[in-house]
Symmetry: C2
Subunit: 353 residues, 2 copies
């Protein structure tokens, strides 16, 4: 069974590291900046958060699924800048007494050593790393004022048991209803765990700001970024079986713990949970400042899935798999570009009731 | 200039890693357990810490200079066990609502990846790693209830400038008054920074529990564990210069950022700072359950100073230096054993006024 704990971005200083290949994600940070600012200025209510009566305050912020830097540092700076502005507007606040504590969360396998060593030296917050899955509890109760999550909501805690039992690779891509149902159920269960944990940890009135990809209603899974990855990687792995490089059994047991949910599904999950009010749930355009090239796509995919491939197939096959994967991009690139353009980006703002 | 940031315990899975060579330090944990329990039961005042009126509470604990596990995990368990007992004795507390947040602090160079991966899976606290020097601020103001530090007080933030200028290795060992004075002044300045930072971070009534080695009055620096290390390592490095392995200049510029303070010095520093009441400052016997052997001493020294040596002399000389160091232990072992027996262990309990 492939647990999503292996789905950690690539740390270290290698060419395909997340640190060096996160320009697409940097575009997301930039696109999110104004949305973040608006969310905080409109909805971060100092009074209901208990900040109005105190002479000195500590605002606690968490970035869930932060990976390594630098994007999580840009995000933290954007949040703090907006919260400071909010305090400034409140006038009765003593800005010099304001302090920030930033919690950087990701899986145990995340490269926290690199994260810590690349922390901006002149930062205006106290930094802490928190290892663990965001599908479970990470922080004490009522201890977080603002939680942030960027494109991590689609990670499942594991490949659904039913799919593992079927033992046929990239099955999500198929039209097998049972498989899609198993993925969908796993996602609902994981989201329930995620929301219940955050409900404990956020102070009443605390905000959760989520940027996420979502599937427009009526679009099939195979026409999503996740579907394209499954298609191209699946075809690549099947080639390598034919070439005698990989065993069929090994390829069949490879599944990706990702579920691209629809907008309707997400909204239903938030409403059913009931611990949060949906303050905002809007599509937003993500300007691709960096034009996507086949090479850029190859590096981004490797930065994102090197750990998953390495964990399942072993160190000795990683280079060959990604080299062959790269040759499969060119013939599929027009479809990749098209789907990128159709990609639906959601900005979700939840408030702890 | 050698900054003490390099003086991080050895992480990873190597034979001389701190994880595998910390049995001496484990003895310290065991010896400290009863002292910790007594300190918490007698002096951790729930009412003045604001815990008596709340329906749910989060107790925040920091281990400063924690290195990698497992000793810091044993310490955390010991602290939590005693705090739970204290809450149990208070009767009016709702124990089921009690939560703990544990902050593991050490230098940026500490192996936090190993620390996180070896966290006890069934722990009853929320864990966070906090990178940075304890000579500066690490946490928001009034955010820590209990700070712990085990044998880390003697680390200086850097080798004093005056000593670097003299450029003569292991000079603390000499009877040069100017040098001893420079080390002593550096220690006083570092301790002032340390105490002022903790005064900001501890809640009023919060405790700081420190286990530290100290020099009995009337004992010269060369008769301390630190002195013996300087002696033996100094002699080892000089041999390697004669053998043409190391350059004289390189050896001369090697200094250890450690200062073994006397009890009188320490007490004066605490009183001068004025932010803490000295609740306890007592010698304690540290039973050496694990008899010290030359091999054990060699491994413990390497676990503790591999980073310092590696940083100064470079990866390519580390093996040769420690191999030669090991040959120098046998002829000095009776002196090492004698000084170990004379070692003065202090248990210090400070309360934030």
């Amino acid at each position: 069974m492939v647990s999503s704990k292996a789905f950690t971005m690539t740390g270290g200083d290698v060419a395909y590291s997340y640190t060096k290949n996160s320009t697409i994600q940097r575009d997301v940070v930039d696109a999110g900046k104004e949305l973040l600012k608006e969310a905080i200025l409109k909805k971060f209510d100092l009074e209901s958060l208990g900040f109005d009566t105190q002479s000195s305050v500590v605002v606690k912020i968490a970035d869930l699924g932060c990976s390594v830097g630098p994007n999580t540092f840009f995000v933290m700076e954007n949040i703090i800048e907006a919260v400071e502005l909010k305090f400034l507007q409140a006038k009765n606040q003593n800005l010099s007494a304001l302090e920030f504590q930033a919690f950087f969360n990701d899986h145990y396998e995340n490269d926290f050593n690199i994260l810590f060593k690349t922390l901006p030296p002149s930062r205006n917050y106290f930094a802490a790393g928190v290892p663990g899955s965001f599908h479970g509890r990470l922080f004490p109760k009522s201890s977080i004022h603002f939680a942030h999550m960027s494109y991590a909501l689609h990670f499942l805690s594991k490949v659904p048991k039913e799919v593992v039992d079927i033992n046929k690779s990239n099955v999500l891509n198929s039209s097998d209803k049972e498989v899609v149902e198993a993925y969908s159920t796993q996602f609902k269960n994981d989201m329930e765990c995620f929301l219940n944990a955050r409900a404990e940890e956020l102070v009443p009135g605390g905000l959760m700001f989520i940027l996420a990809g979502a599937v427009p209603d009526g679009i099939s899974v195979s026409d999503t970024m996740s579907g394209v990855y499954n298609d191209v990687m699946g075809s690549c792995l099947k080639d390598l079986v034919k070439m005698g490089v990989l065993g069929e059994e090994k390829v069949n047991s490879f599944n990706v713990p990702i579920y691209p949910a629809t907008v309707t599904e997400l909204e239903a999950i938030f409403r059913t949970n009931g611990n949060f009010s949906i303050e905002k749930m809007e599509k937003f355009a993500q300007p691709m400042k960096t034009p996507l090239t086949p090479e850029g796509y190859a590096l981004a995919v490797r930065a994102g899935s090197d750990g998953l491939i390495r964990n399942h197939f072993g160190d000795e096959f990683v280079e060959q798999i990604f080299n062959h994967f790269t040759t499969k991009i060119e013939p599929n690139f027009s479809k990749i570009l098209e789907i990128t353009r159709n990609n639906l980006n959601l900005c979700i703002l939840l408030k702890r009731i």
